[in-house]
């Protein structure tokens, strides 16, 4: 009588162990079968973070975790294979219809796996380390794009064209974008660069730093970001340094995904030459903060704001 409960426990333990062993065996077997059948159709690619990943020759299902990547994907006509994206992916219109897997920083790993993608495209690797490891355990490749300049954007578009077998569309798009960029740069080439302050948010004051894509756009538009040498992509910035830099133009990215936030100039910047001469411009933040095809709209708008004289007919 006394031994019985212990005995039952013992049996339960043995049974559990046996079950676990059986399960792990079948998982291993299934994996073995999978990889054996796939080796023929696999290829190895290196992403923009320098990681080497293995993807199928033909990618039929993939997910994008960044709005700029989603825009590129649709622009190179690969959107019909996009099976999941984020709540921030709102352009083009078709991107809204795609299944949402959460926002950029907090995607639902369960939903991603449930969508059975072969590839997940992300825009920066930094916050996704644990998450990338989990996906790779499920044999879902993670490709990191990390454009920090307009040239990088063209490179990302070309890479995604190769990855998604849309090379021709990608090259065509790049040619178009390059032509527009060249047009803008030619128009402002003879102008004197103006000093620009980029106000990402007024309270507290944030701006675009050294690693930001915006600094490159400003330079190409005939400007010179006064914070171009500040470490980081989006540093919090000292109000007195912003005023001391005497910017001639201030850019407020607002009106896109930001809604009406960041629509007003920081109080500390009211005395800058830019504010006193009325040279504070609002530009759709989606055109400036998403390194993708619409960055060219951002470039055109920036150039018109910085050098209106260069575009008079």
């Amino acid at each position: 009588m006394l031994i019985a409960p212990a005995n039952r426990n013992y049996r339960l333990v043995v049974l559990t162990i046996a079950l676990l062993l059986a399960c792990s065996a079948c998982v291993r077997q299934e994996r073995a079968i999978h990889s054996a059948s796939d080796t023929a159709g696999l290829r190895q690619v290196t992403d923009e973070a320098g990681r080497s990943i293995v993807v199928p020759q033909e990618i039929s299902r993939f997910i994008s975790l960044a709005p700029n990547v989603t825009e590129i994907v649709f622009a190179i006509n690969a959107g019909e294979r996009l099976v999941g994206n984020t709540t921030y992916c709102d352009y083009p219109e078709q991107a809204r219809q795609v299944q949402k897997v959460g926002d950029t920083l907090h995607p639902s790993i369960e939903r991603i796996i449930a969508l059975r993608p072969e590839l997940v495209l992300v825009s920066t690797a930094s916050q996704l380390e644990a998450f990338t490891r989990q996906l790779e355990e499920h044999r879902i490749a993670v490709y990191v794009t990390d454009p920090r300049s307009l040239e990088d954007v063209f490179r990302s578009i070309a890479a995604l064209g190769l990855l998604l077998n849309r090379n021709d569309s990608a090259q065509h798009l790049i040619d178009q974008l390059r032509a527009r960029a060249a047009g803008v740069e030619a128009a402002v080439s003879s102008t004197k660069p103006v000093k620009v302050f980029y106000q990402l948010s007024a309270e507290p004051l944030y701006t675009a730093g050294r690693d930001s894509f915006v600094s490159d756009l400003i330079r190409r538009a005939g400007g010179e970001s006064v914070t171009a040498d500040v470490p980081g992509a989006w540093p919090k910035y000292s109000a007195e340094s912003a005023l001391a830099a005497q910017p001639e133009v201030i850019i407020l990215p607002t009106g896109g995904s930001m809604g009406d936030t960041n629509g007003t100039l920081a109080a500390a910047l009211q005395r800058t030459p830019a504010a006193m001469k009325g040279r504070v411009y609002k530009i759709n933040d989606d055109h400036l903060s998403r390194p993708g095809p619409r960055s060219l709209d951002g470039l055109v708008e920036l150039a018109h704001a910085l050098h209106p004289e260069a575009f008079k007919q």
Binding site: L205, K236, Y237, S238, A239, E240, T261
Partner: protein
């Protein structure tokens, strides 16, 4: 002897007799004058430091004339000094004064050396109030300090009620209630920030850690006014607080209207915490570290401890914010990170010693 008893025992000595009271008064005035002088010197010295280097002599000259004469500063340099740097330093002073005075009063009233606005969840209550104001009455700046005050008062009352056990409020029980309220309100804050769009999260997270940049002049005026009036009011109630440190029943027997004193101290301290959180987020550990250091050096009589803590709190936050805005200039750190970096180790040290 636990620290609360020690505080009570020390103060008992100083509340005997009218002669002692006169000695205390002159001692208070001397201490406060010296500390005020130190505060003015600190304000002056930190005004000369910043991410932009201004000519020191000209700045000192302009400061000493309160901006009447530029003393050779360019209009741009004068704007940096008087419109950006000085308001921020004054805000730091007001916030430090508020939090330290509130902390010292909570410690006396609750007979608990660990009582502090941040640790008791009162700052978080004010933070939730401020967020509600930003969400629903974004256009009305006045709603921020008002709702922050309401949040702080509500959090105070909840913590106080939770701490009352059958055997009265023990220090441990109070801190545990504070922890519960803090974590509950933190989750509420996380919930609200998740609901907000991504672009506003960044500024919120910075603000939650305590950030002194970018406050409007009207909010600055409110914060300074509340800081001075609130600290003076609490100092005026210091005698009652001294008696409360003996225990509420003894205080009652000695003629203190316990319920009334408790309520008005809660309201005054919540106003102080509310206005400072509304203008600068939750700057932690000020209300703990400063009153302790003051009591260690000047004794635990609240008639000295509260005004001295208020002035020293101002000095502490002004210095901490100067570090925050210069150490990685032109980038900035939140001041709350600096006060916690200084405060937490000091707290551990005090705990080990006490």
């Amino acid at each position: 002897m636990n620290p609360a008893e020690k505080l009570a025992a020390q103060s008992e000595g100083s509340i005997r007799g009218a002669n002692a009271a006169r000695v205390t008064l002159s001692k208070t005035i001397t201490a406060c004058l010296i500390l005020l002088l130190l505060l003015v010197l600190t304000l002056f010295a930190t005004s000369l430091l910043g991410s932009e280097r201004l000519p020191a002599l000209a700045s000192a000259c302009a400061l000493s004339t309160l901006g009447k004469y530029a003393c050779g500063l360019s209009p741009n340099q004068a704007a940096i000094l008087f419109e950006i740097r000085l308001p921020r330093i004054l805000l730091a002073g007001a916030v430090g004064c508020s939090l330290a005075a509130a902390g010292a009063s909570y410690q006396a009233l609750l007979r608990n050396p660990l009582a502090e606005p941040y640790l008791l969840g009162i700052s978080n209550g004010a933070a939730v109030g401020t967020m509600m104001a930003l969400l629903f009455f974004g256009g009305y700046e006045w709603s921020r300090p008002l709702l922050a005050f309401s949040g702080a008062l509500l959090a105070t009352l909840v913590v106080y009620r939770l701490a009352q056990g059958r055997a009265g409020a023990s220090p441990e029980r109070l801190i545990l209630s504070g922890v519960i309220v803090t974590t509950f309100l933190s989750s509420a804050i996380v919930f609200v920030t998740t609901m907000l769009d991504a672009t506003r999260i960044r500024s919120f997270t910075f603000w939650l850690l305590g950030d002194l940049s970018g406050t409007s002049s009207s909010l600055l005026a409110v914060t300074i006014f509340v800081a001075i009036a609130g600290a003076a009011f609490l100092a005026a109630n210091a005698r009652s607080l001294n008696l409360m440190m003996l225990g509420e029943r003894d205080a009652f027997d000695l003629g203190v209207e316990v319920t009334r004193v408790r309520l008005i101290v809660f309201i005054a301290a919540s106003l102080l915490v509310g206005s400072s959180v509304a203008s600068s987020g939750s700057v932690g550990y000020v209300g703990l570290v400063v009153p302790h250091l003051v009591r260690l050096s000047l004794g635990s009589d609240n008639r000295i401890a509260i005004p001295a803590a208020a002035i020293c709190g101002a000095i502490f936050v002004v210095v901490a914010d100067t570090v925050a805005r210069t150490v990685i200039a032109p980038r900035e750190l939140p001041v709350g990170a600096i006060t916690a970096l200084i405060g937490a180790p000091l707290f551990i040290y005090l705990l080990k010693r006490g």
